[in-house]
């Protein structure tokens, strides 16, 4: 669930159908159940879909234990009006947990010499930023933020790729076309160098990478979503999203997915979990009021018991201001605390649609 879908794509809403048609009215592909994914081809770009993104989040540590939260994301959007068809948007954000300093940058380019995504393999560029998988399956991320920080990271998947959704289709709403193919590396061992000011820090840690493709996302009546990925110390992961409706209720198509240490996925629907705000924080920059962390309440499939885990932000202010697109959202590193306040893992939390009517501001 990535916030830039709506930023890039003005959703065309059309009559609800029981089954997804093969394409949108303007000719873009819609996710179809039972699709066989072939790699590395499917790590690459799928221009038949209107929008697509590669989304990396994670936690890094320097040798002295200094902790960082990192986000590196690339979006592709087919722009029916642009001569060359695609526009790329990328975001980079870094949280220095020790100082609480959060820096981020946005970058927008039309497809061409300064932005591209290869078909057939993972090779995405936007300006000086890039994401690439080499022949050995190692993923390389090169990025920077406002000339204050830069990083070169090598990521090795230590758990197999996961495909979320039913039969390869991750539904986001009642409209069958509001869906995506959702591929994830839930745990990537990460090593590399982080340059921060004059410091050159060797870092290591774990990241999460989503790759989604879609042609239609938000449903009528949805105002935003809260999304999180959890990496637990016991070797499991979880991904959860709650689609929020205008009336404040949770959309039935909200989902929680558990990944066991072997990589098997177990998914439950909206009725089987809650993801509720835990306090609030107001951004001085955008004026938006965000939840100050969330509480996940669900049955833990490993114990069969209900758990109440708190996702506590490592810094309150992890808001991306959207200087170019004009749309702010909150995306930040959190620690996971159980009922006894024990830290049981790390998470990344995404909160969108808090700055007003997301759809209207997109028009």
């Amino acid at each position: 669930m990535k916030p830039m879908r709506p930023l890039l794509c003005l959703v065309t809403l059309f009559a609800t159908a029981l089954a997804a048609p093969p394409t949108t009215p303007d000719g873009y592909a819609l996710p179809q159940p039972g699709r066989e994914f072939v790699f590395p081809r499917d790590h690459g770009s799928h221009p038949e879909f209107k929008i697509e993104w590669w989304y990396l989040t994670g936690h890094l540590y320097a040798e002295d234990g200094r902790r960082f939260g990192l986000q590196a994301t690339f979006f592709r959007r087919a722009d029916g009006t642009a001569e060359k068809g695609n526009i790329y948007l990328a975001h980079m954000a870094l949280l220095d947990v020790k100082t609480g300093r959060f820096i981020h940058q946005e970058r927008l380019n039309r497809a061409g010499w300064d932005a591209s995504a290869a078909i057939g393999s993972l090779d995405v560029k936007c300006g000086p930023w890039s994401l690439r998988m080499d022949d050995a399956g190692l993923i390389h991320v090169i990025g920077s933020i406002r000339a204050e920080a830069s990083f070169e990271l090598a990521l090795t998947p230590i758990k197999p790729l996961v495909v979320f959704g039913e039969n390869g289709v991750s539904r986001k709403g009642a409209d069958p076309s509001a869906a995506s193919h959702y591929l994830t590396f839930p745990r990537l061992e990460t090593r590399g160098t982080l340059s921060l000011g004059k410091e050159q820090l060797p870092v290591r840690g774990e990241m999460w990478m989503d790759h989604e493709m879609s042609s239609s996302q938000l449903d009528e009546g949805q105002v935003g979503w809260d999304w999180a990925c959890l990496q637990l110390r016991d070797g499991r992961e979880a991904m959860v999203y709650r689609m929020r409706r205008k009336d404040g209720t949770t959309d039935p198509f909200s989902t929680l997915a558990w990944i066991d240490p072997a990589g098997a996925v177990q998914q439950v629907g909206a009725k089987d979990f809650t993801l509720m705000p835990n306090g609030s924080w107001r951004s001085a920059q955008s004026g938006a009021e965000y939840p100050s962390g969330v509480v996940l309440s669900a049955i833990d499939p490993s114990s069969g018991k209900r758990v109440q885990w708190k996702l506590v932000p490592l810094a309150k202010d992890q808001e991306l201001h959207g200087r170019i697109t004009g749309i702010a959202y909150w995306e930040g590193a959190c620690r996971i605390l159980d009922e006894q306040e024990n830290e049981i893992g790390s998470a990344f939390l995404e909160l969108t649609g808090y700055t007003g009517d997301l759809k209207r501001s997109l028009r």
Binding site: A82, N109, P128, S144
Partner: protein, 860 residues
């Protein structure tokens, strides 16, 4: 009382009271200085405005970029962009590819003057990528959705809010040889606290601009902006080095400073000339301030002597007088700056037009008050005023206390320097030697005729000295006239020997006239030369170009299909197709022109210098270069010239040198076929047509214009008049500056006479007692003024002949590289003489009449 207190007292009780009692003179004095300052200030502001408009468009949108990559010749292929990005790696640097061309409003009348159509700079820029610059604009609220509607729409443009047309309107434009109608999608956003984009800039999405100019895959330059953050300077240096190292001759890297400098450099000579000209009025003003203050010291000598006898120290007296000079300078400077600011709004158009015609496209339409320039002008004004007041202040300080004021204390003979014959001779000789010095060569191919300027200064000063002696001689010569009329006797008696005042007045007039007449000789010679050049060069029947070609800097081309259609018309006997591309030689920017040299050979339309060539560019690896090129780059006939082209550097033998008064940047002529091959460009700038039957020229022109609304076509006669008109227009500001200089000198003559008459107030009373009527005194003063003016005029005209020679053979030749034939425009000089003498006569008569009414200067 301390000295400061005493100075304040002297200022309040004496200086300011004198000013109040004689406000007319104070006002005149301040006005003369103000006028001089105003002329200087207006030219400075106008120059600045024109240069500022040379800055790139990105400055309008965001910060100044750090460096620019452009081709040494022609344009750059887009394929270098990923290569440049790869070379920079992950370094956070914004890269902004740009394509730029000129576009003009379609003509309303096929016979309109060249340059009359509004011309725009059409800038193609990636409207999506440019939004990344908002990340740099941290100071303000980011601008959002500004470019909506501009992306993907091949007809969308963004314009300045200053343009008459508004978003939603359509703007018809001539781009190359096509008439297109573009949709205004919005206004160019202005950054917070920055002025809006000038009306002459149009922005378009890069792919759309490439499509509309039929230059897909090409760009003109790439601008680089290193992202803000720590160690920016080091990162900028690193990025500049990486891009420079990757060039391998394919592109050039210029920093913003380089680029602005090159704009500044290109026009440096031109601006220097203007600034020097603009200083005439101030220079003349200096002479006048000197004598006004000297006169004031003389008139107030009694007061000074009394002050001295009351114990005021010499030092304090001197300072009080310097303070008075300072006040004059400050008031005159401020007033002049205001006047100059107003004047700059006019001057900027002249300067902008000339720069447009000769150097580069610019969008200057108004001149802003610039604090730095204002402060500098004020400092100059005060310094000048204090310098002029220095000697009078010393004179005042040396006044002995309680001196018995001699009744026959007349104005002295003036500064010794202004009387020294030896100095005059020395200056003339020194000037002659300096004129022999070669030009000073600056980077970028600019040449400054330093020796020439020195010679001009020396000869001007010598002219001033000569005018004093001439005045004396003239006085002696006409002294017998005194027998005919007492008024003449009186007038003549003041000129022989002349007072320092008269000498100064004559010298300042001589200075102004020498420069004015010298320039008139230069312009006259230029015009004569141009006429001969035109007669040789323009022999074809029709001259065709894009109607958008409004000046030398226009980029509008004729597409191959267009010119081929015209050239193959059955009425055409022969056609010469001209192509052009800007090329950067190691010494600076110039132009390569591809022509059909056979055409030139057959029609004999080239004005050769140093003989007709024996080898022609279509016969081998030969080239012709213009005279200005020879002067700029030092290339001689027979030399091997390396010409950069998009397909590599070509070595060509210089087989001939031709006269070209159209460009001071110089040009290199190569064969058309080679141009098309090397520059990969078949679009033409101009097509010259010789008809089978010249009589059909007019009707063919009408027919072609109807078929090609995007073209402008000149018949031979029409083009010749246009060329001369543009030539004269180029010099119009020169005339304005000179006219002001002469006006100041004539005003100065009036001020001199006022000063002289005030000195002679006692004599005037005597004359009245002797029965001389007011009219008689006016007549006498008029004769005195006329005599002074005549001496100044004669000395000035004599100096102007020297100056004219200097301007033509040294300064112009060294600066612009044009050989001109000396032609003295006698009618213009006679007119100048008549105007100056009548103005002097009238001014002096008015002053004389006024002086005769001065109150009696008698004590009981």
């Amino acid at each position: 009382m301390n000295e400061a207190g005493l100075l304040r007292l002297l200022l309040r009780k004496f200086t300011l009271r004198h000013w109040r009692r004689g406000p007319g003179q104070a006002v005149l004095l301040v006005m003369i200085l103000a006028l001089g300052v105003a002329v200087y200030f207006s030219i400075r502001l106008a120059n600045r405005a024109v240069l500022a408009s040379f800055e790139r468009f990105t400055d309008v949108l965001t910060h100044e970029t750090d460096f620019v990559v452009s081709a040494p010749a022609g344009s750059l292929p887009e394929t270098i962009l990923p290569e440049l990005r790869a070379a920079l790696g992950a370094r956070p640097v914004h890269m902004i590819p740009v394509i730029e061309t000129t576009a003009a409003r379609p003509r309303s009348d096929a016979n309109a003057e060249i340059g009359s159509a509004e011309t725009f700079r059409l800038i193609g820029i990636d409207l999506i990528g440019i939004q990344n610059l908002r990340e740099e604009d941290t100071s303000a609220e980011p601008i959002r959705e500004t470019w909506a509607g501009g992306v993907g729409n091949l007809n969308a443009i963004f314009v300045s809010p200053a343009l008459t047309e508004q978003p939603g309107d359509r703007l018809p434009l001539l781009i190359d040889d096509r008439l297109v109608s573009l949709e205004i999608a919005g206004h160019i956003p202005a950054r917070t606290n920055e002025p809006a984009a000038p009306a002459s800039i149009i922005i378009m999405d890069l792919p759309a601009a490439q499509a509309i100019t039929e230059r897909r895959g090409q760009i003109d330059r790439v601008e680089f902006l290193v992202e803000s953050g720590p160690d920016r300077a080091a990162r900028r240096a690193e990025a500049t080095k990486i891009v420079t190292d990757a060039a391998q001759g394919r592109w050039r890297v210029e920093t913003s400073a380089d680029r602005r400098e090159s704009g500044a450099m290109m026009t440096r000579a031109f601006r220097l000339n203007l600034t020097v000209l603009s200083l005439i009025a101030l220079l003349v003003g200096l002479y006048l301030i000197y004598q006004a203050l000297d006169g004031a010291v003389l008139r107030r000598r009694q007061e000074i002597a009394i002050l001295r006898s009351l114990g005021v120290e010499e030092r304090t007296i001197q300072r009080a007088w310097l303070l008075e000079s300072l006040l004059v300078g400050a008031v005159g400077g401020t007033l002049g700056a205001l006047l100059g600011w107003a004047g700059a709004q006019f001057a900027v158009r002249f300067v902008g037009r000339t720069v447009n015609a000769l150097y580069f496209a610019n969008s200057a339409d108004s001149a802003h008050l610039h604090f730095g320039e204002f402060a500098w002008t004020l400092v100059l004004s005060i310094a000048a005023s204090i310098a002029a007041g220095w000697a009078p202040a010393r004179t005042a300080a040396q006044m002995p206390p309680a001196q018995m004021i001699g009744r026959y204390h007349t104005a002295g003979p003036g500064p010794r320097l202004l009387r020294s014959r030896t100095l005059a001779v020395a200056l003339i000789v020194l000037g002659a030697l300096a004129a022999k010095l070669p030009a000073l060569h600056l980077a970028g191919g600019t040449r400054v005729a330093l020796g020439g300027f020195f010679a001009a200064g020396a000869w001007l000063f010598a002219g001033g000295i000569v005018s004093g002696h001439l005045l004396r001689g003239l006085g002696a010569l006409v002294r017998p006239l005194g027998n005919l009329s007492p008024l003449a006797r009186l007038a003549v008696s003041h000129l022989s020997p002349p007072s320092g005042r008269h000498r100064l007045a004559a010298a300042s007039l001589a200075c102004a006239i020498a420069m004015t007449a010298g320039m008139a000789i230069l312009v006259g010679s230029f015009e004569r030369t141009m006429q001969q050049w035109i007669a040789t060069t323009f022999q074809a029947d029709l001259y065709i170009s894009s109607a958008g070609a409004q000046s030398a800097s226009s980029q509008n081309r004729m597409m191959p299909a267009t010119w081929q259609r015209l050239a193959s018309d059955p009425a055409v006997a022969d056609a010469n197709v001209l192509h052009a591309a800007d090329v950067v030689f190691p010494g600076g920017k110039s132009m390569v022109i591809g022509v059909n040299t056979q055409f030139d050979r057959q029609q004999g339309t080239v004005a050769w210098l140093g003989g007709t060539p024996t080898q022609w560019p279509d016969e081998g690896e030969f080239t012709f270069v213009s005279e200005a090129f020879v002067e700029r780059f030092g290339t001689q006939r027979g030399d091997l010239l390396n010409v950069p082209t998009p397909s590599g550097t070509r070595a060509l033998r210089v087989a001939g040198v031709f006269a070209d008064y159209g460009s001071e940047r110089g040009s290199v002529l190569i064969d058309r076929a080679k141009f098309v091959e090397w520059f990969r460009e078949d679009a033409a700038r101009t097509v010259i047509v010789k008809l089978r039957d010249p009589a059909v020229a007019e009707s063919l022109r009408t027919k072609w214009l109807a078929e090609n609304p995007g073209l402008q076509i000149f018949t031979n006669a029409h083009l010749r008049t246009e060329v001369l008109r543009i030539f004269r227009q180029t010099f119009s500001i020169t005339y304005a500056l000179e006219a002001i200089g002469v006006c100041v000198a004539v005003l100065g003559l009036a001020l001199t006479l006022i000063s002289v008459l005030l000195d002679r107030q006692a004599d005037l009373t005597t004359l009245r007692a002797l029965g001389v009527s007011r009219r008689g005194m006016a007549i006498s003063a008029a004769m005195e003024g006329l005599g002074t003016a005549l001496a100044g005029l004669l000395a000035g005209l004599a100096a102007s002949l020297l100056l004219g020679w200097l301007l033509i053979h040294v300064i112009n030749k060294q600066t612009f590289g044009w050989t001109l034939l000396l032609a003295v425009p006698w009618p213009a000089l006679v007119l100048l003489a008549v105007l100056v003498l009548s103005a002097a006569l009238i001014a002096a008569a008015i002053v004389g009449y006024w002086g005769a009414g001065l109150p009696a200067d008698r004590e009981e």
